[in-house]
Symmetry: C2
């Protein structure tokens, strides 16, 4: 029994499961969606409203926080939780994904990745050891191993080499975590399975991670443009390669229909910028699919954003008002749209947990899909 | 006794007074500060937080709302209160100030002001009758008369002519208001004293307004660049020219020290964009004066924005966090800074009311001024 993280599965329905992850800062009901708090804020929301929406855990970004305000500064200020006013669990990513997608002039080596900050051009080095140290300085509750990403379209030998390096980096990340003293006794660390769309690479990666031993396991390298069908193709087997009794986290996913399909396939945790980012561009999620409030057809629409939603935004304001705020570029528009979207995602997770508990996940998912039209305005997951 | 608006004065201390204005949608404790909700939103705040800060009434802008979303549209959607989710009193300005400061190609005549929208270039005409109709369509609780502004530096005959035209427009505004049927029975209308910095013009204006008869009276044409000393010079006599038993509203004021001085001189109501606008540019008000959170000296400052403040922002977050949010351009920074500033202004009004109630307004104001340093970063009132 691992006391850093206890995972209790309450019900299993096919490959899907529902349960509770116990961490030192609180419980996480699974399947769980983690709102993204990139720069020490879930954009345009107060922490109390994030909690009221039903979120048990949020995600913080190592890459953004190491550059501004800086990990050592956050540590001097008492850690990320107190800094941003969120006292429940925080999962931090390793910075691996962002450094390769946002930074300039990245140079990869066996040691790690050196890069120039996209903010001020200063040069930095991110290694498994430094990534793990930053996450400790932030006070993360779930630390992610530092890994290397390559496009799913890269050559087979490139895909294999990146997976193998990621496994060496996972071992170094684990050693750095275990050397973290008091922090290591109060937090957990997840390894990240790589291997692109190759079942054999995915299996080798899973076996390497299990040999190292983590409190949980992420499925990495998906939601990077391969499409839902290819992603579900991997999820048809990848979760089964990971330990049944440990949480499984699908990184960077996703659209509501992505999440439903991934839960059906055995995923327990998700994160994505989509609900927050969409909220700032006028897109609201509804049971019938996303709608964009900039559209003139909402100018005198007196319905709430989603007539079947019970969130504080839908209880108070009409689409016509949100249309006005979005058109006028008002900050309150971003605030209310974001809050609705986060509530929508949390309600989706609550519905999924309840359906699994009743042993009806597949019927529930079929009903969800029959009504939900993904739409063309939903942007990609990342 | 005018049933549209009842004004009960609870205590008088020199020229200062404290009391309650009763309107059909609720009570307004005076002296009162009205947060500005330009485009049907107090920028970056939810209505519930505006109320929790202590605001009894907010201000809406006729000019902005007539252009977007349009007064007839707001009326079809049930009025401004329901549209924006604020069920307490709303005072609407007449559009006179904004049309002359924001619109393009304005043409003034005895009929009114024609102008091109700064949003889409469409041509509009604002008259005393149309301004009053728009305020009725919005469902305003306190309707302002339509007036004409000229710079205090204009020639004497220009200043006199503008005041005299404003009084003719006040009479037309009053007739339009009285013809408003049911709305006129549930709302009040204020006349606006003009006359620049001329005591005799101010007196003539006051007498003209009193002859027409309004539920309250505003002191207009100040806080437009004349400086605090000149403004206080007018306030040394102008409130005394207006009825003692009716609310006196100083439009567009102001900085905290402006408000304190105006309350000492007999003003009951204020509005200003300063706390909300400052909140979006990183400026926080404190008992010691304004501070700008962009400043590097706050990067690791663990104090709240104002150590003597009891607002939700000061109870939760440190200056170091606000500094980070402001530097990173995060929406949450604008949200929290605005909320603190609105709470600061409302607490200032509560302190002023209490000091008047104790008969200590002049001692309290002297203590306030001894501590409060206006600072160079505080922008002008408008």
């Amino acid at each position: 029994m691992n006391q850093r993280l206890a995972f209790t599965i309450h019900a299993v329905d096919g490959a899907a499961r529902t349960g509770v992850i116990q961490l030192s800062r609180g419980e996480v009901r699974t399947p769980a969606f983690m709102p993204v708090g990139t720069a020490a804020t879930v954009k345009a929301m107060k922490p109390a409203d994030v909690r009221a929406a039903g979120a048990d855990i949020i995600l913080g970004n190592t890459y953004h926080l190491m550059l501004r305000p800086g990990a050592e500064r956050v540590a001097r200020l008492g850690g990320l939780h107190g800094f941003m006013g969120w006292d429940r669990p925080i999962l931090t990513d390793s910075g691996g994904y962002q450094v390769m997608s946002l930074a300039d002039l990245t140079k990869r080596s066996e040691e790690g990745v050196s890069f120039k900050s996209h903010l001020d051009g200063t040069r930095h080095l991110l290694t498994p050891e430094r990534s793990t140290e930053i996450q400790r300085l932030l006070g993360s509750d779930i630390v992610m191993a530092f890994d290397e990403l390559v496009p799913a379209t890269a050559d087979r030998d490139v895909r294999a080499a990146a997976m193998e390096r990621s496994m060496r980096w996972a071992r170094r990340s684990r050693a750095a975590f275990e050397a973290g003293g008091d922090h290591a006794s109060r937090s957990a660390q997840f390894g990240i399975q790589q291997g692109a769309l190759d079942p054999d690479l995915r299996l080798a990666s899973a076996q390497a991670l299990i040999e190292i031993g983590f409190e949980g396991y992420a499925v990495g390298g998906l939601a990077v443009g391969e499409g839902q069908e290819a992603m579900f193709g991997v999820l048809d087997y990848a979760p089964g390669q990971l330990p049944t009794d440990r949480p499984r986290y699908l990184m960077g996913v996703g659209k509501p229909d992505d999440i439903v399909g991934a839960v059906e396939r055995g995923i327990d945790m998700f994160d994505c910028v989509l609900p927050t980012r969409s909220g700032r561009t006028g897109q609201a999620f509804t049971r019938d699919g996303p709608i964009n409030l900039r559209n003139a057809r909402f100018a005198e629409d007196r319905a709430p954003l989603d007539p079947s939603c019970g969130c504080p935004v839908c209880a108070t304001w009409e689409r016509a008002y949100l249309h006005h705020l979005v058109r006028a570029g008002e900050i309150l528009g971003a605030m209310l749209m974001t809050e609705h979207n986060i509530c929508f995602y949390q309600q989706l997770m609550a519905d999924l947990r309840a359906a699994i508990g009743r042993g009806e996940i597949y019927a529930w998912a079929a009903q969800f899909r029959a009504r939900y039209h993904p739409g063309r305005r939903a942007t990609d997951a990342h």
